[in-house]
């Protein structure tokens, strides 16, 4: 049941990210709803369920992107395995813990996807015109930093919603 609901939530999140968010955000960065839901779910779920959410979330993200299928799933997989590993050492999820996770997690995930795009372009999997000027520093300041800010603002709402769903489903909590 949890996985079906997860698939629905993640698919709708990816669709909203691909259609609605460009109208609501300013600049090049946008919040990453799929990332937020996977992160919020993995904080209080067991590893197997977190991995399932990471796979589902990554695949729906890549279905609506030019990235090869599985690229985002790999990033999310690394994220949930780290969260799960760290979670074993944390007795209670507090504000600081959540804030730290979303800041570090978003930074990791966005830099990972930026690096993936850079590598795919370099080896010819993604197109790049001769003479195109890739500026990683500019990418970081105009794409990654705004995304971190958006995610930091939204994680509190997403986490609250996810906790309600997890309690409703009576899924195992830590």
């Amino acid at each position: 049941m949890g996985n079906y609901i997860g698939l629905l939530i993640l698919a709708v999140s990816a669709v909203l990210q691909a259609s609605l968010l460009p109208f609501l955000t300013y600049g090049a960065g946008t919040p990453n709803f799929v990332f937020l839901f996977v992160l919020a779910w993995s904080i209080n779920a067991d590893l197997r369920q977190s991995v399932t959410w990471a796979l589902m979330g990554g695949i729906v993200l890549d279905l609506l992107s030019a990235l090869p299928l599985g690229t985002s799933a790999l990033g999310l997989l690394l994220l949930v395995s780290t969260v799960s590993g760290l979670g074993e050492r944390v007795y209670r999820v507090g504000v600081l813990w959540l804030a730290g996770l979303v800041l570090a997690g978003t930074l990791f995930f966005e830099v990972y996807r930026l690096t993936a795009v850079f590598v795919y372009r370099a080896i010819g999997i993604l197109p790049q015109d001769a003479g195109a000027a890739i500026d990683l520093v500019s990418d970081f300041t105009t794409v990654v930093l705004p995304t971190i800010v958006y995610n930091f603002i939204l994680i509190w709402f997403v986490y609250f919603a996810v906790r309600r769903i997890q309690r409703w489903l009576r899924e195992p909590v830590s």
Binding site: S19, L64, A132
Partner: protein, 285 residues
């Protein structure tokens, strides 16, 4: 007990990692393209619906101006209309002269042979680092990789991926995009590249090139990838430092890429593959 938990954890992560690696490999080489097209179709359909609704709401909000603002707007439009009437008359004269001369030399410009197909924008890339959009026309309608995509306001981008019912377009604002361009007034040539911020910059302009704020920048057709004379944007500012051997210009596109609704795919222009000349060119060694 702890060791058993850890080995189960390792098994889950290894299994998932292998699955993802397999997916990336197959997808990167295009082996999953039919499946991806099939699975993404319902997501793209839903995305198209929401995109339409968002554009409708956005247009309604934008259009909700005050009466005084509307009066100012109408006055501005009337002034612009009056100024352009005289330009239209002059341009009609030029067009008529051009047509007579073109008939004499039996010359047909690329612009006159451009067939287009209209398509709806149904999704944008979920990765902020990639500036691509998805349109609801694909190979079934004759769309091919490399075709130019435009609107009435100018160049949008180029088709980079095609499925039977949808196509992915790389926007000109993408960092991976570089387009041969020229200044319409002075004919100064350069390359327009996208930037991470979503803006455009014209590079490789000669140091003394005549480029002024407000000039229109159009495609030059050099390289054979895109038809010539499609509007890219307008010069917003220019920059030249003494230490630099080229001049650069910031370009503003007339298109709002976040609010694209309908685009035209230029199907009548066949991109020319010049790589054959690169392969056979003497190396000079």
């Amino acid at each position: 007990m702890r060791r058993s938990v850890q080995s189960r954890r390792g098994a889950v992560l290894t299994g998932a990692g292998l699955l993802v690696a397999l997916l990336i490999g197959l997808s990167a080489f295009g082996l999953l393209a039919p499946v991806e097209g099939l699975v993404s179709a319902p997501l793209e359909w839903l995305s198209g619906l929401i995109n339409r609704a968002a554009i409708g709401i956005d247009t309604a909000v934008e259009g909700n101006r005050s009466y005084a603002e509307l009066l100012d707007y109408v006055a501005d439009l009337e002034t612009a209309f009056a100024r352009q009437q005289s330009e239209v008359v002059a341009l009609r004269e030029f067009a008529s002269d051009y047509q007579r001369l073109a008939d004499l030399v039996a010359y047909t410009s690329a612009a006159q042979t451009q067939d287009t197909i209209a398509a709806d924008v149904i999704a944008r890339d979920t990765s902020s680092a990639l500036r691509t959009i998805v349109i609801n026309k694909g190979s079934r309608e004759g769309i091919r990789t490399g075709m130019a995509v435009v609107t009435g306001q100018g160049l949008v981008g180029r088709v980079i991926e095609v499925t039977s019912s949808a196509s992915r377009v790389m926007l000109i604002t993408s960092e991976a995009s570089a387009i041969s361009a020229r200044n319409q007034r002075s004919r100064a040539e350069g390359a327009v590249v996208g930037r991470a911020s979503g803006e455009l910059r014209m590079l490789m302009l000669e140091p003394g090139a005549d480029v002024q704020v407000g000039d229109l920048v159009i495609t030059s057709g050099l390289g054979g990838n895109l038809p010539p004379d499609i509007v890219i944007g307008q010069v917003r500012s220019t920059r030249q430092f003494e230490s630099e051997i080229e001049q650069t210009a910031e370009i503003s596109s007339l298109i709002d890429f976040n609010r694209l609704e309908i685009v035209l795919v230029v199907t009548g222009f066949e991109p020319i593959d010049l790589s054959i000349f690169e392969a056979t060119a003497p190396t000079g060694n």
